[in-house]
């Protein structure tokens, strides 16, 4: 269960690349463990490290003050590609708590909301402005307030939209499975009617053949 996330102030780092896919965020071949808690090293691995494993000194997240970044301002369609949730775990474990971009991959967006990493969709001109602010250490500190659904940066305030379910989950750090299991009776009732109407849908009526 993720920790609640309400209002967050921190350094924002700019990653001005379009279509950053989850392979770039979490290269499959670099991971060595599937456990939460082991993933920080893998985050954006090929951007952060050379093939020889040395830090790239010119990459933004390897430089101060962005090494301490809590917010990432990214290009359009961030997190497209594979569904691997390790991409979100890795960014969260590395220290990020919010990502701001014009659009996100749909699966990645959901995964963020379930793991305490707040995805903020803003119009591209605003993201461009935030990216410029993030590139200057003097203006790189921003606030993302999920209670008011605003980003505060450079003396301006920008409102964003987020689905109610995702917002509540992030604000409260809710346990989605526990919430659904509280409706177990309702699910069982639906299941009985569903099995009567569409039995072959509810479960395979012919089992997996034994090879």
């Amino acid at each position: 269960m993720p920790e609640p996330l309400r209002r967050l102030t921190g350094i924002a780092a700019a990653l001005p690349i379009e279509n950053v896919d989850t392979d770039m965020i979490y290269p499959g071949s670099t991971g060595k463990s599937l456990k939460r808690g082991d993933q920080a090293r893998v985050a954006l691995h090929r951007l952060r490290f050379s093939p020889e494993g040395e830090e790239r000194p010119d990459f933004v997240l390897n430089k101060m003050p962005w090494r301490e970044a809590k917010i990432l301002v990214a290009g359009d369609n961030f997190g497209c590609g594979s569904s691997r949730e390790m991409a979100v775990w890795a960014l969260h474990e590395w220290g990020l708590r919010s990502i701001i971009a014009p659009r996100f991959g749909d699966i990645f967006y959901n995964n963020c909301c379930l793991n305490g990493l707040l995805p903020v969709r803003l119009e591209r001109p605003i993201v461009d402005r935030l990216m410029a602010l993030a590139q200057d250490p003097a203006t790189a500190t921003m606030t993302v307030d999920l209670q008011r659904c605003v980003v505060e940066a450079g003396g301006e305030t920008y409102s964003f939209d987020i689905e109610q379910r995702a917002r509540e989950g992030l604000l409260e750090g809710l346990d989605a499975i526990g919430m659904t299991l509280a409706s177990a009776d309702r699910i069982a009732q639906f299941g009985a009617a569903y099995r009567a109407a569409l039995p072959w849908n509810a479960e395979p009526t012919r089992p997996l053949p034994q090879a």
Partner: protein, 469 residues
Amino acid sequence: MTKPQTSFEKIWAAHVIEQLEDGSDLLWIDRHLVNEGTSVQAFIELEERGLPVARPTMNLSVADHFPPTRGRHDPLKPGWGRDLIFGLRDASQRAGVPHIDYLANDQGICHVIGPELGFVLPGMIAVCGDSHTSTLGALGAIAFGIGTSELTHVLATGTLASRMPKSMAVELSGQLAAGVTAKDLILAIIGEIGTAGGTGHAIEYRGEAVGALEIEGRLTLCNMTIEAGARSGLVAPDEKTYAYLRGRPMAPEGAEWDRAEAWWRSLPSDPDARFDRTIHIDAGGIAPQVTWGTSPQDVAPVDGKIPDPASFADPKRREAATRALAYQGLMPGMKMSDIRIDQVFVGSCTNSRLSDLQDAARLIRGRKLAVGVTGFISPGSTRVKQRAEAEGLDVLFREAGFEWRDSACSMCCGIDTAPPGTRVAATSNRNFENRQGREVRTHLVGPAMAVAAGLAGHFVDIRKELADA
């Protein structure tokens, strides 16, 4: 009069357990394909919480990412892959979830065996911890990829809370020309609408060109819906769907089949159903497609040229294209057919079914891979491999110099890789930087194009090859 509904809306409505206060719906999930790449952690979390799997037989687990494509029957080498393959097997057994062993005849890429076994049927909601779950929408189902947290929820409850996406119709008029396949169609669509073009939407593919596609082509079409930004793509069920499914091992039989088919026939979109967005594409005007960049939207017809980044109006796109060409080691203005390749990969959930292999093998006609080019075939499932062998396709490929391997995700997701700098003609779905190995350059194409490129050493207009045959 009830409001006309789309196919997606009909299927969705049949699965709503309750509307939640936050505006999402709690959905009954019919099928969950479970793979070792993303799902072992979910079983561990449930065990740690002491929660059972809600409906074990709605799930079907199979290792498809990590089984080796060479030396399948050798003992697995110690490492992450082996831990995951055995981890999935053991966790499935403990939870009572049906599991297909990686050495069994039913093994294969989950999006290939789901339809092959008749595990996924029209009118279902099917999920899997893999983004290419969209493939299964080709059977007239709602199918989408989910992350580990959501699939843990599905295992524990048999349900998922979700908000209905917006709807998008992709109307494909006309008929595909000879030598042009479903792969070219979906690449052309992605080139048109972009990799975020379908974000937040569920796509329904419609029109003459879709109806004309066989089910395996529709699976390819729906497979790369995720590369167009949409989590799910659907083709309404029709006679081809029923003919494909009848007699599959896990499909209903007898009176139950008749009941099921009667329901399936009610599922296509109503004639006046409204979509939030509609895209029209003339399928008859599409040429064989080849990607030149590092995003599936970086695509051009094989008789075209690599675009000049300066020709893109959007500065962000210009920057991305420049970066892509630098990575790919290509120059603007170069003819697509002048791109020389080093390796061919035929496989993946996109293009590894029997018709794909038939399509590719038919072009060989006694020729061999060009000097310096290597290639291998990884059939989509062990059954596909066996059927191909029964037709002698393996012999045709081997005689041309291709390696004939076993079924797994393989080079599609970098489990098998090529050496740095290798240029690959691949039938898979993602040409991302480093996806098939460090500094490997991927060009996405259909199976016949991949094999033709291997034989010639460069991409060729296979329409001409077929005309000459």
